[in-house]
């Protein structure tokens, strides 16, 4: 549009066009320059994790250039992956995350379907309520929950504190509201004609959900699954408050509480543990980046 208007002008505008493209080129150069600076800032900690994880403790305590590895070794990885304690942490984390993701999807997908398509008394209020619960932080709830679990044990004799599976009860409070919220958004964007056609063809509500809504809203479902997984993998406060013995810990808490012992910091192993703890979300992100970002932006732009 503008270029058409400019070329249609007099000869003098030719010079202006030239200066505009020169401005543009400089803007591009500056953009790249600052992007590199910001990328450096954003990527320094993970890169430093990798550098340190490749060092032996002798090299770390020798205080040579911290930004360079002189004698790279995989001994930290071997030691950590070989230790049964680390394997237990990893197993606990994986079990918790997988169960929580499954539970979250089983709860939030039917609920989102009911709230977006099958209006019932109070459904609009409930949809808003779901969103509001997403805004209640876990830091407000961990103490009353702790006390509730203790009281429950006193009443029934079933031990809840210091069992990894108690996390299956509390993590859904973090994942379900947001997943329901973004699924409501995705379901609402499906044209009404589609499920009406299914109803006329004799499909029940359940069939409409499984045969029409879930396949059509699959990108949203993937985004919600990724969100639920990353949240349950990264959660730190609840496991720190509810589990203490080393065989019940999940990975983030396990690394922080067992590898940091008093004044002795084995930084090579701590960084290796941190990197391995960060690896599953990073790998998922690397392969499913577009879904990940869609899930991030859906919370605020849909609805």
């Amino acid at each position: 549009m503008t270029s058409a208007a400019i070329t249609a002008g007099k000869a003098g505008t030719g010079r202006k066009l030239n200066s505009m493209s020169r401005d543009r080129a400089w803007a591009l150069r500056w953009s790249y320059f600052f992007l590199i600076l910001f990328a450096l800032f954003f990527l320094t900690p993970p890169i430093y994790m990798l550098i340190t994880s490749l060092k032996s403790s002798a090299e770390i305590s020798a205080a040579t250039n911290p930004w360079w590895v002189y004698a790279p070794t995989l001994s930290n990885y071997k030691e950590l992956l070989g230790s049964s304690q680390y394997q237990i942490f990893f197993r606990n984390s994986a079990l918790v995350s997988i169960f929580v993701v499954t539970l979250t999807m089983l709860i939030s997908v039917p609920a989102a379907f009911a709230l977006s398509r099958m209006k019932f008394w109070g459904s609009a209020t409930l949809a808003t309520g779901v969103f509001l619960t997403y805004l209640i932080p876990e830091t407000l709830l961990f103490l009353p929950l702790f006390k509730m679990f203790v009281t429950f044990t006193e009443l029934t004799g079933i031990e809840l504190i210091n069992r990894w599976w108690v996390l299956l009860l509390v993590y859904p409070t973090l994942t379900v509201p947001f997943c329901t919220w973004i699924m409501i958004g995705y379901f609402a964007s499906i044209p009404k004609e589609l499920d009406e056609a299914a109803l006329i063809d004799g499909a029940g509500w359940f069939q409409t959900l499984t045969r029409i809504f879930i396949p059509v809203a699959l990108p949203g479902l993937i985004a919600a699954t990724i969100f639920a997984f990353t949240v349950s993998w990264a959660q730190f406060l609840y496991p720190l408050a509810f589990t203490t013995s080393t065989d019940q810990l999940v990975l983030p808490v396990g690394i922080i509480t067992t590898l940091i012992k008093g004044d002795v910091f084995n930084w090579g192993q701590i960084m290796t543990g941190a990197l391995l703890g960060a690896a599953p979300p990073l790998i998922i992100y690397a392969f499913l980046m577009d879904y990940y970002i869609a899930g991030l932006t859906a919370g605020a732009t849909k609805g």
């Binding site: 910001f38 009911a114 932080p137 929950l145 409070t173 990264a234 992100y285």
Partner: protein
């Protein structure tokens, strides 16, 4: 559509058929309610009940046997550490959110400026801090800030500067905690603002360019008004999350030196779980509620307004 198809049949037949339809409608809402029931139960038992219960807890004594009214609150008001925590939480949340928003906005502009085919790669790299579990990346920062082996101090020493006590001195510890929070949160703002920038129609910029607007006027009169909603909602969201943050302070400074970097969440954990005084801890975390409600009201207003437009 369904009603349109079904209505001629219903009116043509007898009243018995209409009650059948009525029953079907009833059944539809019953099915819907059952489908939403797990969600309702989860929210009621694991969110609403504990939220109300914490109000009750806050009025009990340490052994949770006796009702003490507002004694926990008056006790807190008399403690110097409490006011330090209030002050620190507010500085922490406000400064961090402002800088996250600023850096997110600037970086989003740079990413938006470069050719489209390279954007995906840059966006992918710049979001990495948000993807790493905060507790894990804080460990990396803790090691970068180490008193004797700090990799930052190594660089500073190369340029002949004095080593910085990153987590050892109150002011530097506050700075470090906020810096790490900005590092984790800025990429989220960047992604949100980038999505918003893409939704601003090019014609507006072209019109502004024809009118002779410079880059500053383009941002002030075109970009910002178009992005106002998303800027507000992202900032409010982030305000809630930052205000209630636990991981960063817990891993990086443990609240030290001498309790000067504690925020509500970490102090409540220290008192409630480690100190064994659950009522007092619940009392501390309840002080987060006013600011959360403030932000929630604004977010809800915005969502309702957009709901009405649609």
């Amino acid at each position: 559509m369904v009603e349109a198809v079904m209505r001629p049949q219903a009116t043509a037949r007898t009243a018995r058929k209409r009650t059948g339809l009525h029953k079907a409608m009833q059944r539809k809402s019953t099915i819907a309610f059952i489908m939403a029931l797990p969600l309702i139960l989860l929210i009621a038992v694991m969110v609403l009940y504990p939220a109300g219960y914490s109000l009750h807890l806050a009025t009990l004594n340490k052994s949770m046997e006796r009702f003490v009214g507002l004694n926990n609150f008056t006790f807190l008001f008399k403690r110097e550490t409490f006011w330090l925590v209030v002050w620190q939480s507010c500085i922490f949340a406000v400064t961090a959110v402002v800088f996250k928003a600023l850096i997110g906005f600037i970086v989003a502009h740079f990413v938006h400026n470069i050719p489209t085919k390279g954007q995906r790669k840059w966006r992918g790299m710049l979001l990495v801090p948000w993807v790493i579990p905060p507790a894990m990346s804080c460990l990396a920062w803790l090691w970068l800030f180490d008193p004797s082996y700090s990799a930052f101090n190594y660089i500073i020493a190369l340029f002949g500067g004095d080593p910085i006590p990153w987590t050892g001195n109150t002011y530097w510890a506050r700075f470090s905690v906020i810096l790490v929070n900005i590092w984790i949160g800025a990429p989220f703002f960047m992604i949100m603002y980038l999505a918003a920038l893409k939704s601003v129609p090019d014609q507006l910029y072209e019109a502004a360019a024809i009118d002779g607007a410079n880059w500053w006027q383009r941002i002030w009169f075109v970009t910002l008004p178009m992005m106002r909603n998303i800027i507000a909602i992202t900032a409010l969201f982030s305000l809630i999350v930052t205000f209630a943050n636990f991981d960063i302070v817990r891993v990086l400074t443990f609240g030290g030196p001498i309790d000067t970097t504690h925020v509500f969440a970490t102090w409540a954990f220290r008192i409630g779980i480690e100190g064994g005084d659950i009522p007092l801890g619940a009392c501390v975390s309840l002080f987060m509620v006013p600011i959360l409600m403030f932000a929630a009201v604004f977010i809800l207003r915005d969502i309702n307004r957009r709901g009405n437009e649609a």
